[in-house]
Amino acid sequence: MMDLWTLQDEIVTAIAADAALNTWCATTYGADGVTVEAMPDDFDLPPAASCPYVVVDIEDDERDRELREIRAGYAILCFLAGGDDRVLPGQANVTQRAEHYRLGEISQLVFSAVDAAGVFSDGRVTVVRRQRSFHTDVLYPLMAVELLITLQRTMTIGDGDPLA
């Protein structure tokens, strides 16, 4: 049976250990590296100075007996502090374009980190969908982007009840 908590821990480990992401955090923000946590206490989240900061949550756990499949969703929230004042070539509207640029950079790095670690490529699960959405409930200097990964495991007939 797919263990959502094990996969979550593997996602956290993959992101925390990724060399490209940690290098980007150091060169872009002067940070020691990326800070990653799984389902932290909302009352104990670190201050903005701890960014880049990534939170991995289990967002959904859907088990369908008729379709004989298990779907699970992970929400990966990436927080950055500042860095939206970058001037992009030929662009007058600096702030918002640069904000999206930075959030796009960390989004690609996080997706790449999970892929490079092979978390989803060892046959246990299939990635159904990846999507990126902007998380607006933060105030400057914080910026945030939410990455959603939906996974599926199809149960073979005779392979047992997925809800068992």
């Binding site: 909302d42 201050p47 903005a48 929230l77 702030t95 933060v138």
Partner: protein, 103 residues
């Protein structure tokens, strides 16, 4: 002297009594501050920043902008938006101690 200049002088004198000295984008100006609640903070959910409103004179800050900085005491606040304004001044929403939040 006119009634307008008299009123302006009276207002600015009263404002000077109420306000305190803050540092706006590096310049010392007068500001009257009302401290508010945490942004998004409700019982059981921690807010993602501390909010306040500050009144400043147009003569000190003619064109306040998003991301301007206000130092009050030892704390740096950031201008998030202009709430209102009149012929004398602006009321700005400022924040400090911004924190990541998941919801």
């Amino acid at each position: 002297m006119s009634i307008i200049t008299d009123h302006t002088a009276a207002f600015e004198a009263a404002f000077a009594d109420l306000a305190e000295t803050v540092t706006y984008n590096g310049d010392s100006v007068l500001g009257s501050i009302s401290y508010g609640s945490e942004a998004g903070g409700v019982p059981g959910v921690r807010g993602n920043a501390t909010l306040a409103e500050i009144d400043i004179l147009k003569s000190d800050v003619p064109d306040p902008a998003y991301k301007d900085t206000v130092v009050i005491g030892t704390t740096t606040w950031i201008v998030q938006t202009v709430l209102s304004g009149d012929e004398w001044g602006w009321r700005l929403l400022i924040s400090s101690n911004e924190r990541p939040t998941r919801r």
